[in-house]
């Protein structure tokens, strides 16, 4: 079976757009198989008219997936036991049908990202401060490497945090 890679801009920013793109790919016979680093792996099959939708839920129980399956949403794949993608018929009832629960979908992941980003921010400020002091050369090199890692961590948590924040604000304003 042929596979192909589809890149992702990050679910915090492009969830709707990428679910739509996955639907277009499925119509051409390329079906989502699993998450890949910074993207998705698609596998070749019969063209199908389907809807993709995702949910955030930390360590859900069996009832969770059964409820979705009974409502016409087949579980496709998950990542980190938290982000779950479902595939449904075009006429299936959407995963979220009221505003309060839709806001909560993003509220929880926003808080998690926000906390992680804050920790990275404090750590990187700590390293900036440490670098002001005199260190032996090797110690300084290690601190620089750690500093770089933490900044990368900050980018990958801080940007999604802002993305979810904007999304939630937008939900609050209209609809």
């Amino acid at each position: 079976m042929k596979r192909k890679y589809m890149s992702s801009w990050g679910l915090a920013f492009a969830e709707e757009r990428e679910m739509k793109k996955l639907e277009r790919m499925a119509a051409q016979g390329w079906h989502l198989e699993k998450f890949a680093p910074l993207g998705y792996t698609l596998v070749e099959g019969e063209p199908m008219d389907v809807r993709y939708s995702l949910d955030y839920r930390k360590q859900p129980d069996e009832d969770y997936f059964e409820l979705f399956a009974a409502s016409g949403w087949e579980h496709v794949t998950s990542t980190g036991d938290e982000i779950h993608v479902f595939k449904g018929r075009p006429d299936a009832t959407p995963l979220y049908t009221d505003r309060q629960t839709t806001e909560e979908k993003y509220g929880q992941v926003e808080r998690t990202m926000g906390r992680a980003a804050l920790i990275c921010l404090l750590l990187s400020l700590g390293f900036v401060f440490m670098l002001q002091l005199d260190w032996p050369q090797t110690a300084e090199a290690i601190i620089l490497v750690l500093q770089t890692l933490v900044v990368i961590g900050l980018i990958f948590t801080g940007l999604p945090y802002l993305g979810y924040l904007v999304k939630r604000k937008r939900l609050e304003r209209n609809e």
Binding site: E66, L67, A70, S71, P94, D98, T101
Partner: protein, 110 residues
Amino acid sequence: MPRNDTIELGELTDSMLYILLALTEARHGYLIMQFVDELTNGRIKIGPASMYTIIKKLVNAQLIEPIDGDGKQKRYVITAQGRALVAEDLKRRQAIVDDARFILEGEGQR
């Protein structure tokens, strides 16, 4: 785990109210969805993610409780506290309808 979240819950949303009504008889998630769909002739539909979120919330607020059963999916039933809150919520909704009727048709019972 059981803590009283009723106040945090605020007013019942329409979905919450319909789920509580469905649970005057023990049902599992999917049966609740079907019940609400039939009761409202498809006017109100509740998606699985909304359903799952609301069930967890109502359990935490002790408005519904899981019952032991041999079925695959967990079933829930409304508690006395849940019934009391539904009654209270109906009064609130009735008051809104009465107010609106009074203004629009002059036939509310005030």
